[in-house]
Symmetry: C2
Subunit: 275 residues, 2 copies
């Protein structure tokens, strides 16, 4: 494998590219485009863990659930992934995935895949009331962190404030239109990353910048590959809120909607914060 970025690939495909080693493990490489304050953007790490299963020769069906645990900082450079099918049933499959650098485990994950089939369906959450994406200005957050340049983010509500703003926000809700920048067709890899593209809720609510980072992320996919493909490279609507802050951690629940009102994914995480 080569550690050199390939300019012909979309940055997300470059950052999530995995090469299979003779022992069955995979090798990947962090990409400077997705640099976060420390190590890579957690959304790309989640996408890499998912991609280790998506590209696995024994993979069955589409992802339904993905949990990623950020166990330690990922250093810039190469990493190794081991993806193990722990149990394969007739139409479902459970995976255990571990990323490491040298002897240190950096990330653990579990994924549940299934052959999806049409059934009774209903959406109980409501699509947020928002203006269309082209009526909302794009915000540049790259002074805050590099990886945001890989997205076009149009905030309807809950943009990151600066520290000078006095007092607490009434809630931690953020709602934005988002797509990959440059545009790229939505798939599970891109959607997994977008589910972690929210700034930590504690910074919206207080609002002030404090040390904070995701420690565990769980995403449920409500679409199959065919439905995701119909989204194309259009913006998706992303909304997130916290329910409880305290004892050094807070949760976050998010929804990702297509422009057409399909709930593509719901995603939950627990976030470390200081102070």
């Amino acid at each position: 494998m080569s550690a050199n970025p390939d300019p012909a690939l979309h940055p997300l495909d470059r950052a999530t590219r995995l090469v299979r080693n003779p022992d069955g493990s995979l090798s990947g490489h962090t990409d400077p485009a997705y640099a976060n304050m420390v190590g890579p953007f957690g959304g790309v790490t989640a996408a890499v863990m998912l991609n280790a299963v998506l590209t696995h020769p024994e993979r069955l069906g589409d992802p339904v659930a993905l949990t990623v645990n950020y166990a330690g900082a990922v250093a810039d450079g190469e990493f190794r992934i081991d993806a193990v099918p722990m149990r394969t049933n007739r139409s479902t499959q459970h995976w255990s995935i571990t990323a490491s650098q040298g002897e240190a485990v950096t990330t653990t994950a579990t994924a549940f895949f299934a052959l999806r089939r049409d059934t009774w369906s209903a959406t109980e959450s409501g699509f947020p009331r928002v203006p269309p994406a082209d009526e909302v200005p794009s915000r540049d957050s790259s002074a805050f962190t590099t990886w945001t340049r890989c997205y076009d983010m149009r905030f309807v509500k809950g943009y990151l404030s600066d520290d000078s703003k006095a007092g607490h926000e009434p809630d931690s809700v953020s709602t934005l239109w988002i797509r990959d920048e440059p545009p790229r067709s939505l798939d599970f890899v891109a959607l997994a990353a977008i589910c972690d593209s929210f700034f930590p809720r504690v910074m919206i609510r207080r609002p002030r910048r404090v040390p904070a980072g995701t420690v565990s992320l769980t995403t449920y996919f409500h679409s199959d590959a065919r439905q995701l493909a119909t989204v194309g490279n259009r913006h998706v609507l992303a909304t997130a809120r916290a329910s409880r802050f305290g004892l050094g951690y807070h949760d976050q629940s998010a929804e990702i909607w297509s422009e057409g009102g399909a709930l593509l994914a719901t995603s939950h995480q627990v976030v470390y914060f200081k102070e």
Copy 2:
């Protein structure tokens, strides 16, 4: 170890009891009190996975996040658990946990533990408007499934309907007061089990009984051991709803509150359903 139930133990402690083997693995045994339609109640399985870490000599701090994947049916009888600390940091620890029977993996899990410390805190979700527990009648669901006898469940809203009820419910929300039966002081083991004590949302929403079962469950604990202990053996308020049903699966998000209005845990799951 003995497979014989010990009548001096609370049923939950009996069902989650683990014996350490010379090779470091743990042995447990399903308990008939928590029998579900197939295998044991998933909440007790989650509690057992968590207990494998709670009782581990290398365990650091309190649980913050727990994800349990129900990979295959658990047969009545003995099971083996392997709990591995994947990464231990200064004040945090990531675990990987696997339950098996013979050669078959039945359950996988990851857990994140941490030394919790006082920080800024806020609760953004609202405590549901409900009458006190002693004004709500207890419901007997044991005709539906055995394990419900291990709980005192007082439904404010969203009790399981029978098939004869016509039409769809407007939403899938259930809200109930619940405690272990017989009463038992709340701890992480009990709370982990309660987080899975909701009937599948699809049966509330449609409402009809269909084959359904949890495939992956994630719980975030917002209290430390000391705070949980203050709940004692009083009821907690549990509320759950789904956001999307389709392609054979639906999600569920739940909140567990103390009587006094502390949000003890938020919990999410994805549920298989047929039709």
